[in-house]
Amino acid sequence: MKVSLQDHVLVPKHEILKESEAEELLKLLGVSKEQLPKIKSTDPIVKEIGAKPGDIVKITRKSHTAGFSIFYRLVIE
């Protein structure tokens, strides 16, 4: 039985952002890609969702204070 690491309680939901969404996001935040927090391409979850270096990963975390919060990371080598 193949299990998904994303089912683990500690792992929040990871999604790859589409190109158009990524552009919109960078415009909204007023930053360049490189200024985002990073995630390695060797990260087990990145491998699982199949993100490539240069992609932006959208992470929906459960937050202690805000219910849920959205975080973005840039995939790097």
Binding site: L5, V9, L10, P37, I59, R61, S63, G67
Partner: protein
């Protein structure tokens, strides 16, 4: 009712929205009143947001540091978890912030799959599969010096308890040694190839520590009943191996080894683990630190996509500014290295600006005034 519709128009966090909604529903307010209430709530929310330019890092450092002075310096403490010995208090907090690769007391919490979680026998079975069992626990091992051989006398009772057959035991031993191996009734006899006492004793030591079943890293398993299900607590940790064991609910399998979580489950899981561990370590000592400070800490530690420790080899040691690094630790080394490499300090940070006596870029100091000359002339 459409409280949701009103709330939808405001960019409030979900938890705040839910709280307002439940309160509105309890009081059964009319729509126009509700609108006003939500508007007031939103104003209050905005007023309570942290100001841009506020030194949140310093506030977090102080907020965690001050209660830290009140923590026990004693390493060991017998915590709520049965007979397990877990590092707590200040040493544990330091361990978390230093991202030690091998914590001094690794520990796992293992939940079982729903079908078997309530069955003590089944839980015992899973525990047997996880706990490392050495040959010395299952058999008497005797050295016959005259005959230059080692006699292994399996304890049938212990074997039965572990659910092993003699045959399986034999296979395990054979796989682990390179010497001549014979079976005589219930006994096994190992004859060494090289006739030296030292070699004989080496083989003896090796035989004792053969892991017959279970996971090498897990030294002990304790079964506890929590609510209506049985939960396993282990001494020693190996997330990867335990997750593969049948009967284990992998999605609720936890370890206190943060680096291991980072390797197996990735950076985001490590972030959650840091928050949980730091919070519970502080909480256990009766100290309440706001999660936001710890969340900031965890965010800084994981921002690069890899775990960075707070200290000389991590966050503080990798600062861009030479002066800031020199002011922290290993002053001479840092200055010397920077000089050799011809580094430039752009004086963008706080420490370096304090050193040379300039206003710092924090709070109001972070704001710059730009005058449009053309407008002023007129």
């Amino acid at each position: 009712m459409s409280y949701d519709q009103i709330l939808e128009q405001y960019p409030l966090p979900q938890s705040v929205k839910e709280e307002i909604k439940s309160e509105l529903e309890r009081l059964k307010v009319k729509k126009n009143v509700a609108k006003k209430i939500v508007e007031r709530c939103y104003q209050a929310y905005l007023a309570n947001l942290i100001e841009p330019g506020e030194a949140v890092g310093i506030v977090a450092a102080q907020s965690i540091g001050e209660p830290g002075t009140q923590m026990t310096m004693r390493t060991f403490h017998y915590a709520g978890v049965a007979e397990l010995n877990v590092t707590l208090g200040l040493p544990r907090l330091i361990e978390i912030l230093d991202v030690r690769k091998n914590p001094s007391t690794p520990m796992m919490t293992i939940h079982l799959e729903k079908e078997i979680a309530r069955d003590r026998e089944k839980a015992r079975e899973v525990a047997n599969k996880i706990e490392a069992t050495y040959l010395k626990d299952l058999a008497d091992i005797e050295v016959d010096l005259r005959g230059m051989k080692i006699v292994i006398k399996p304890d049938m009772e212990a074997l039965r308890r572990k659910g092993l057959t003699l045959e399986e035991l034999r296979e395990k031993i054979e796989k682990n040694i390179k010497e001549d191996f014979e079976q005589e009734g219930e006994f096994f006899i190992v004859k060494v190839k090289e006739p030296s006492y030292k070699h004989l004793m080496d083989v003896f030591e090796k035989l004792r520590d053969i892991v017959v079943m279970g996971i090498k890293e897990i030294k002990r398993v304790i079964i506890r009943k929590e609510g209506d299900e049985y939960v396993l607590y282990t001494e020693g940790s190996s997330l990867k191996k335990v997750m593969k064991v049948k009967g284990v609910d992998f999605s609720r399998t936890l370890t206190n080894d943060i680096y291991e979580i980072y390797e197996v489950l990735g950076i985001e899981a490590a972030r959650s683990a840091i928050i949980n561990e730091a919070l519970s370590t502080l909480g256990e000592q009766g100290l309440e630190v706001d999660v936001r400070h710890i969340m900031l800490l965890a965010d800084v530690m994981t921002a690069d996509g890899e775990l960075r420790q707070i200290g000389r080899h991590g966050v503080a040691g990798e600062k861009q500014s030479i002066l800031a690094r020199a002011a922290f630790e290993m002053t001479v080394n840092n200055l010397l290295d920077a000089a050799m490499r011809g580094e430039i300090d752009y004086l963008r940070g706080i420490t370096e600006n304090i050193i040379i006596g300039q206003p710092i870029k924090l709070g109001t100091g972070d704001v710059e005034l730009i005058a449009k000359l053309g407008v002023i002339k007129k």
